[in-house]
Every structure is written in structure tokens, then in C-alpha cells.
Amino acid sequence: MDLKTVIVSAYKLAEEEIKSIEQKFPFIKGTTIENKIDESILAGIIIKSGSKIVDISLLSKLRNLKKFI
């Protein structure tokens, strides 16, 4: 059964960008990658693969900054 990975971004990712992301996050290699667009995250990406979620979006950074202040 194929594992599915969703990469949320604020714009449509190019193939090179997806490949670059795969290199940085090897656990998504070999999975079916789907790119979902959500402008509310402003910039950066959110990777959802199985039970793993990696949030490196600008929105989450702003919210973390708010908590830090």
C-alpha cells in the first residue's frame, strides 16, 4: 500500500522544489506526494506524511514568535 505525503505550500511547488524537499526529508521518498496550496500559511511548507507532520511555514513561525514575546 502506497504511503501518501501531502506538502502544503502557499503556491504551487515546482518539480525541482519537490525534489529538493525530498532530499531534505528522506522519509518522504518513495511515497506519493501531493501538493496542496494554502495561501494562509504565507510561505514555507507543511509536510504531512503518515503520523508525521513537519511545519516550517511562515505562519507557524509568526505564531511561535507571538508565544515567545
Binding site: A10, L42, A43, I56, R63, K66
Partner: protein, 163 residues
């Protein structure tokens, strides 16, 4: 004697008569009268003695009364002074206690005001931060172009690599 015109018998009779008269007068008139006078004198003396005792008793009573009045006055003054002192002491204690209570209340109120002020400042600060972040979010959402988003995403991924 007869030549001189003096009747001896008559003289003797007059002498006897006089002596009888003297004896009877002394026995029945002068004696009781003197006794009565003596008795009256004794009564007068007794009365004077009683009067003197009464006067003395009256004087003693007046002196005793004056002494009692003086003592009573002294006691009253002493009691009054004690009452005044006690009242003054109570008044001072009440004032001290009231001042202490007021100070405690003031201090508590001041502390509460300070805490409320700090809480308000904290709330304001939190709201300001929320507002600032919301404004930044909205601004970025409206003004970030796709190329800017792409560039930012690239930088974030590169930074992640460095980290």
C-alpha cells in the same frame, strides 16, 4: 440691869424667841431654799455639761462630715482621673488600631491597584502583540507575491539545512 431699863426676863424670852425663830427659819425655810438652790446649780451644771457634750459632738460630727466630704471628693477625683486615664488609653488604642487598619487597607488597596495595573499592562501587551502579529499576517497575505513566497520558502529550507 433693871436700872438701865432692861427687863432680864424679857431679854431672855426675846433671846429664846430669836433662837427659836432662827432654828425654825433655818430648818424649814432657809435649809430647803438652799437645798433647792444647790439642786438648781447642779442641774445647771449638768445642763451645761450636756450642752458642752452636744456642742462637742456637733463639732466632732461637723469635722467628721468635712473629713468624709474631703475623702469623698478625693475618691471622686481619683475615680474620675482613673476613668479619664482609662478613656484616654482606650481612645489612643482605638485610634492606633484604626490607623493600623487604615494603613493595612491602604497597603492592600495599593497592592491590588499595582497588581491590576500589571495585569492590565500584561493584557494590553498581549493584545498589542496579537494585534501586531495579526496585522503582519494580513499584510503578508495581501502583499507577498508568488515570487516572494517562493524566495522565502527557499530561504527557509536552506536555513533548515544549515540548522
Amino acid at each position: 440691869m433693871e436700872n438701865l431699863g432692861i427687863d432680864t426676863k424679857l431679854l431672855i424670852a426675846q433671846v429664846v424667841n430669836f433662837l427659836l425663830f432662827f432654828f425654825i427659819l433655818k430648818k424649814f425655810a432657809v435649809g430647803p431654799f438652799l437645798k433647792f438652790v444647790k439642786s438648781e446649780k447642779e442641774k445647771e451644771k449638768e445642763k451645761a455639761k450636756i450642752d458642752e457634750e452636744i456642742t462637742k459632738a456637733k463639732t466632732d460630727w461637723i469635722q467628721e462630715e468635712a473629713k468624709m466630704k474631703t475623702n469623698l471628693k478625693k475618691e471622686s477625683e481619683k475615680l474620675l482621673n482613673q476613668t479619664k486615664e482609662s478613656a484616654e488609653k482606650n481612645r489612643l488604642e482605638i485610634i492606633t488600631s484604626a490607623k493600623k487598619d487604615i494603613e493595612t487597607m491602604k497597603s492592600k488597596a495599593k497592592q491590588e491597584i499595582e497588581e491590576a495595573k500589571k495585569q492590565l499592562e500584561k493584557d494590553m501587551e498581549s493584545k498589542m502583540i496579537d494585534l501586531a502579529v495579526t496585522i503582519v499576517e494580513k499584510s503578508l497575505k495581501n502583499y507577498l507575491t508568488e515570487s516572494a513566497r517562493r524566495e522565502l520558502t527557499g530561504q527557509m529550507l536552506n536555513n533548515l539545512e544549515k540548522a
